[in-house]
């Protein structure tokens, strides 16, 4: 019974994806909606992403340095490990999970509130395709999400460099040598392919939970929690699948 319910929800999600692209909203209106979403979702996330990335990069660097106790292991591995951790997993995947909490709950609660206060009904009665009006601008705004992840990569490595050098674990030269060691440019492409996929999930799964929620204020809160859980699950699964496909 539970499986049937999950399958039906997944089917409903894909029908929603199709409906988002039907009957587009007038461009002059859509343009403003996209700019507003860029401000809310992208610009509004930069501060927290910068803060977390910088300090987690620093922690990765310190942890690596503290675990390299064998004198035969070169110090430049601190830079190497920080680069690999930040670029391959921390920035694209873990920042996305954090964003599932920040952006996702914002999207679910704002759309959910519109549902319970009949604002979505008002759009539909007027003849507006409410899914296109509400969700499409979020998808377009999140095309800029790789920019956020690029910033996270840069600040994560910068944080690692500062912690390693100013903490006295390695020299700047050693850390930078580590950053350049065995660098595979495809890893950057892999990280950004993941980021684009996660951006689509971040825009649509929370929207789905907000749009189809039923009830009142309490249910809006519950929908935000459920949306965070399912967005995180989807990101982790997508991460596994893409890693298998692209790196195996």
């Amino acid at each position: 019974m539970m499986l049937v319910r999950y399958l039906s929800q997944i089917g409903k999600y894909f029908i929603m994806l199709k409906e988002i692209f039907n009957k587009p909203t007038k461009w002059s209106v859509m343009k403003q909606l996209i700019l507003k979403e860029i401000d809310d979702l992208i610009i509004g996330s930069l501060g927290i992403v910068a803060f977390i990335s910088f300090f987690v990069g620093g922690v990765v660097s310190i942890q690596t340095a503290l675990n390299l106790t064998n004198p035969l292991i070169p110090k430049y591995l601190v830079g190497f490990a920080t680069r690999q951790s930040v670029i391959l997993e921390f920035a694209p995947t873990f920042i996305s999970i954090i964003m599932a909490g920040k952006m996702g709950s914002f999207i679910t609660s704002s759309i959910g509130t519109m549902r319970v206060t009949e604002q979505i009904d008002a759009l539909e009665v007027m003849g507006v395709n409410s899914l296109n009006y509400l969700v499409f601008p979020k998808i377009i705004a999140l095309l800029l999400y790789p920019f956020v992840i690029g910033l996270s990569m840069f600040l994560g490595i910068l944080g690692g460099w500062m912690a390693a050098v100013y903490g006295g674990f390695t020299s700047s030269y050693e850390f930078i040598t580590g950053l350049q060691t065995e660098f595979i440019p495809f890893h950057i492409a892999y990280a950004f392919i993941k980021t684009f996929s996660f951006a689509l999930l971040l825009a649509t799964i929370p929207s789905f939970h907000g749009y189809y929620m039923k009830g009142g204020a309490l249910e809006v809160g519950q929908a935000s929690t459920v949306s965070f859980v399912w967005t995180s699950v989807a990101i982790i699964l997508m991460n596994f699948i893409l890693t298998q496909l692209l790196l195996s």
Binding site: K23, T25, K26, S28, V29, K36, T113, M114, T117, E118, Q119, D121, A122, E124, V125, M126, G127, V128
Partner: protein
């Protein structure tokens, strides 16, 4: 004019509307009344196209809704204005933006033309000094006026109101009722109001449709409702002592 023929609506095994037929004329305030659970909200939402009926037809000036293409349905919806129970104003917009929204979405008017029309409509609903305020910054009565302004800004042929004066004080409720009736007459709109406010029934009920258990139990005017012998209607309308006395006085005056 909206004509409803034998509308049936089911949710699972439960039949909420059991074959309702009636007609709502243009230039009149048509009221749907009934107890909670009688099916009046489902009826209104079915008329609006939010619920798809399981049987029967709804025609808007001869256009049968179920036979229209999706594009024709969307075009018809631009002819409909709706005042929701909770006003349903867009929180992220100012009063002016809320009222101008249908014009921005569905017309090719320039920003100047939109501004002129919005100013005119806001003035028409007697709303002052609220243009740049957000819905959360104005009172419930003002929100209702904004909702009415938004509903009529694009010259709708049909106006639907779901309990337009719920949550308002009696004085403001009468003002809102009268405003809706004035606008209905002024622009010859087919207005359908879902209410359980007996003041509205007495004040503006030019046609009243009484629903009971998903069936049309009685229909008539606010004058006829005083004289009706239908027990279900009298039980519902004259449930308070005040209205019982008002009815008694009305009937005594009528005999004299």
């Amino acid at each position: 004019m909206i004509e409803v023929k034998n509308i049936v609506k089911k949710f699972g095994d439960q039949t909420v509307l059991k074959g309702i037929s009636t007609r709502f004329e243009a230039g009149m305030t048509n009221l749907i009344i009934g107890q909670s659970g009688s099916g009046k909200t489902v009826f209104l939402k079915t008329l609006l196209g939010i619920h798809t009926p399981d049987g029967g037809t709804i025609s808007f000036d001869g256009r049968i809704y179920s036979e229209l293409s999706n594009d024709e349905k969307r075009a018809l919806r631009t002819e409909i204005g709706m005042v929701f129970q909770g006003s349903a104003l867009f929180d992220s917009m100012t009063v002016e933006e809320n009222v101008g929204f249908p014009l921005k979405m569905f017309t090719k008017k320039t920003p100047k033309e939109i501004k002129e029309r919005v100013d005119f409509v806001i003035e028409r609903v007697n709303l002052t000094n609220a243009h740049y305020k957000r819905p959360s910054e104005i009172s419930g009565g003002m929100q209702k006026r904004v909702a009415i302004a938004r509903a009529i800004v694009n010259n709708p042929k049909y106006l639907f109101c779901d309990e337009p004066n719920s949550g308002l004080d009696p004085k403001t409720a009468i003002v809102i009722d009268n405003l809706i009736q004035e606008i209905t007459k002024e622009y010859n709109i087919t207005t359908v109001i879902n209410t359980h406010d007996m003041n509205s029934v007495m004040e503006i009920g030019e046609k009243i449709v009484f629903l009971k258990n998903g069936l049309l139990e009685w229909e008539g005017t606010n004058k006829k409702i005083f004289k009706t012998a239908n027990e279900a209607v009298t039980d519902f309308v004259y449930s308070s002592e005040l209205f019982k006395r008002v009815r008694k006085m009305y009937l005594e005056d009528d005999v004299k």
